[in-house]
Amino acid sequence: MIELRNVHKAYGDEPATLDDLSLQIDKGEFVWLTGPSGAGKTTLLKMLFCAEQPTRGEIHVGGHNVTRLAPSGVPLLRRSIGVVFQDFKLLPHRTVLENVGFALEVLGASDREIEERAMRRLDQVGLRAKALALPRTLSGGEQQRVAIARALVNDPAVLLADEPTGNLDPSLTDSIIELLFDANARGTTVVVATHDHALLQRHARRTVTLAAGKLVSDV
């Protein structure tokens, strides 16, 4: 599903952010990506959804060689990848329902289809009752649930999450992670970047550890 071959990323004369990294993630896997700040976790995730290009090496996602993808192919690739960020990235002037439905709008879905599918996802994350609320009226945990619902609304093959619990109260962390496990249980390949070791210990899964851009362990 995801394959990195000798991926190297450097910005100018700075030390490499990723250094000769090779990694394979199979379809339906759940993988923790961990390491200290500056290890290259975010850069790796950005490369998977084409927000960054490697300096060298090859990256394959869902059968696409993203390092050779034409600019016009990037939107199509992104429609098969859901992304969740630490800062939620919700549109403040749109309701919860509109934020979730946003990912379906670009696919050209009808208003009725958007509402049906978005409501279904909001049901799954327990926010159906807040469909018409604006993001600023929600708690941090609820906003992250909305972001996860948006990332999953078009049934992506891959879900990438970059520190999805980083801005949340520890008591909310597990409920968010449970949503990611649910998505994984439905067949979505999930890669979660985190530096929260307690989280890794509570939810043991395959863990890829990076340090200074190098693969330190994969267990």
Partner: protein
Amino acid sequence: MIFHVAWRLLRRAVMNLWRTPLPSLVAVLTMALALFLGAGFLSALSGARALLRAWGAEANLTLYLAQSATEAQGAALAERVRLEHAELTVALVGREEALTRLRTDMRDLASALDGISVSALPLTVELSPRGQLTSADVRKLAAQLARMPDVVDVEYGREWRDKLEELGRGLRTAGSAATALILGAAILVVANTIRLAVYARRDEIEIMKLVGATDSYVRMPFLLEGILQGLAGALIALCGLVAVHRVLLPRAQAAFAFTSGATLGPIVPAHLVALLAFGGAVGLLGSWLAVARFLRT
């Protein structure tokens, strides 16, 4: 699918304008001002050129006959011109009448003409076009008439006509340059104003691209907003022009004698359509430039 996507994009464009009233208003007013100045200038230019054409059309030609020509020869020539040029009114001015006119023109100094013989004055044939003639027509006519027997000179105000034509050419050049300048400035100002609006919504664009929106899909609401802003700006500019035409100019003409000749080209439905189309096009181009630059970066 295309219909509901288009409808959704239009709806979003209107909602975005509604959600950002101040930047939208600034863009609309900027465009209104640029279009008002541009269209007003073109209208004034059109009026000035019409005035010049009208002056140029007031063409009177005078044929001066040879000193040796008799009244009978003069009458025959006048008759020939009348037959060959139905577009002209023809009048022979005899020597006696010429002297009388001269005395009238010289008023108090008329006594200086007392010793002058009638035979010293040439016969003349005065010609006036029945309709409007262009300067080129008048020149061609003068050249034809100058070749007729007994005609020694043709007077048709060559000097002032040349100056008038030069002025007309100058106005055309200045008009084209000013129009290009105003157009360029309007597009740049609109592009910059819209760029601010685009910048204010960079998070939205980032999220749109993140969920797989193509550049065209990202661009479309902004282009529609640009067109709507351009149309609104053109409408305001049009109201301003109509106000100047109907209210301001007549009052100025009534109040100040020196503005009595001032005129603007008429506003016809075609101008309305052209101004709206132009406003929409300026808005479209401005937003295209703004978004293209943003998408590139």
